[in-house]
């Protein structure tokens, strides 16, 4: 079902991870992604996985919920795995006609798959444990030094806030429209590619109309409340780094150091 997509979803809980400052979590996620690309052996990946496991355990987000988010990207995962395993040149272990599997190919394919899985889970932890609004607030604050160079950090953050806010709404809308057309005999499951693409027109047209209607209503409501962009805007919740945020920074630095040393050693 279309509602099963958890990528970018928020999981409400009151864990320590949830309470961390969003800026800390954004930086931690970026660092984690960089670390995944520094790592090039199994011990390194094991350390990354262990750290991620601890974060998940502390965050109290159920594993089943996270795994559900992996389903839609399974295809990409298999695709890159297959591509790597057959395309990399090296010591040939097995071959059939034009297909060759090499020792290097297997290693790179397995590493890439592990990397992708950790990457997806790691970055979905950010959105699972951070309210969309504080996430975009955090991004805005992190980008705000760039405002001096006329970089529209507030506008970008506002666009992201709105986009995140309306993902569930549009998913719900899509679900509703699909059901309504199914009730009129629409068939989305059978037929060739062209037939299936054509079957989507009765869903896409109303969806676009709805999206424009929602956008118009929202613009009107913002206008009515005198929205004028980021200038002179004050916030209800001022972001402030607390003791736990500093502790998180120290742990992140230690983790980074371990990863760099480990990569050098092996």
């Amino acid at each position: 079902m279309i509602r099963d997509i958890t990528l970018g979803q928020y999981y409400a809980s009151d864990s320590l991870i949830h309470r961390l400052d969003p800026r800390v979590k954004i930086i931690a996620t970026l660092l984690f992604i960089i670390e995944l690309f520094i790592v090039d052996n199994f011990i390194g990946f094991a350390i990354c996985a262990a750290v991620l496991a601890i974060v998940i355990a502390v965050s109290k987000v159920p594993l089943s919920f996270i795994m559900r988010g992996l389903k839609p990207v399974l295809f990409i995962l298999f695709f890159t795995f297959a591509l790597n395993i057959f395309m990399v040149k090296g010591e040939v272990l097995w071959s059939w006609k034009f297909l060759h599997i090499t020792r290097e190919g297997i290693q790179i394919a397995v590493f890439m798959a592990i990397r992708l899985v950790l990457l997806i889970i790691g970055s979905s932890m950010l959105t699972l444990a951070t309210k969309p609004l504080s996430l975009t607030d955090g991004i805005e604050r992190l980008l705000s030094p760039l405002a001096k160079f006329k970089f529209p950090s507030h506008e970008i953050a506002m666009m992201m806030t709105i986009a995140l806010r309306f993902i569930p709404t549009l998913l719900e809308e899509t679900d509703k429209i699909m059901k309504a057309q199914q009730a009129r005999g629409a068939d989305f499951e059978s037929g060739g590619l062209l037939k299936r693409a054509k079957a989507l027109i009765p869903v896409l047209v109303p969806l676009f109309v709805s999206a424009f209607r929602i956008a118009q209503d929202l613009a009107m409501a913002m206008e009515a409340r005198c929205y004028r962009g980021g200038e002179n805007r004050t916030r209800m919740h001022e972001m402030k780094l607390r003791k736990r945020d500093f502790i998180a920074f120290i742990l992140m630095a230690a983790f980074l150091a371990i990863i760099i040393i480990e990569a050098r050693m092996f």
């Binding site: 309504a180 057309q181 009129r184 009765p202």
Partner: protein, 278 residues
């Protein structure tokens, strides 16, 4: 054609932290030709129930029999069920997509694989049945019609499939009084002409009291009571306890101290005249 729902259960997001029981042991029967009103508070499970009746949602457990066919059994053709049971969703005007009204109404019949002549004939008939003039609306974009007209076109899109059971989810929600009246008249007209089962969800107790043969009251996914409008609306306390009201006319007569449950204007006038004579 009759409908029999037995011990129907539905749980959304089963096994997820957001798991929620939307229907619990729902059982009722609908006889041939009945116009049935379903009432219940927002979130009580009405829309969930309706979507089971034409196979859009799968029951967690329980069975549904439509015209002798158990549609909850695996392997039953969904296309066949949707041909028999037409469902008009809430705010159906949001499903319009074609370049003109005639084509939009023809979408359902075309999906049934009918011949062009048959489709054309059904489209004309359905558009006339919902109170629009075929010649004036057929080439217009559905997006430039008024709210009430859009709704009528969307309903015509389902009627054109000639379902044996017509289900409407809050068909009058958000309409002005005139469009409201038009849609309601259209429903009674379709019922009179076809003699088929019609199931109607509404928050307007006056409408339900006026046109329904049978009323099903739902609260938190459970059937609270089933009966004729007279039987149901004489249980004012029960309805209040599940967040529903009595029809205004019934309320008014109660306030005047009339003991009987009054459902329509004529009856009310008679009772009030009696009251004054006393």
């Amino acid at each position: 054609m009759s409908i029999k729902v037995t011990k129907l259960n539905h749980i959304y997001d089963k096994g997820m932290p957001t798991e929620q029981a939307a229907l619990t042991d729902v059982s009722f029967e609908i006889n041939d030709g009945e116009l049935v009103g379903i009432i219940g508070h927002t979130g009580s499970g009405k829309s969930t129930l309706l979507q089971h009746l034409n196979g859009l949602l799968k029951a967690t457990s329980g069975s549904i029999e439509v015209g002798g066919v158990e549609i909850t059994r695996p392997g039953v053709s969904m296309v066949e069920i949707r041909k028999r049971v037409g469902l008009v969703f809430q705010y159906p005007e949001y499903q319009l997509f074609e370049v003109n009204v005639a084509k939009d109404v023809a979408y359902g019949p075309r999906n049934l694989g009918l011949s062009e002549e048959e489709i054309d004939q059904r489209v004309r008939e359905a558009i006339a049945l919902v109170g629009l003039d075929y010649e004036t609306v057929k080439d217009r974009s559905p997006f430039e019609l008024s709210g009430g007209q859009k709704r009528a076109v969307a309903i015509a899109g389902v009627i054109a499939m000639r379902p044996e059971v017509l289900i409407l989810d809050e068909p009058t929600a958000g309409l002005d009084p005139k469009a409201h009246k038009d849609i309601l008249n259209m429903i009674t007209e379709v019922h009179r002409r076809t003699g088929n089962i019609i199931i109607l969800v509404s928050h307007n107790m006056g409408d339900i009291a006026e046109i329904a043969d049978k009323v099903i009251v739902i609260d938190s996914g459970k059937v609270v009571t089933v009966g004729s409008p007279l039987e149901v609306f004489s249980q004012g306390e029960l309805l209040k306890s599940v967040g529903l009201d009595l029809p205004p006319i019934t309320e008014f007569c109660n306030a005047l101290g009339i003991k009987d449950t009054v459902l329509d204007m004529e009856d009310a006038v008679g009772k009030i005249v009696d009251l004054i004579k006393e």
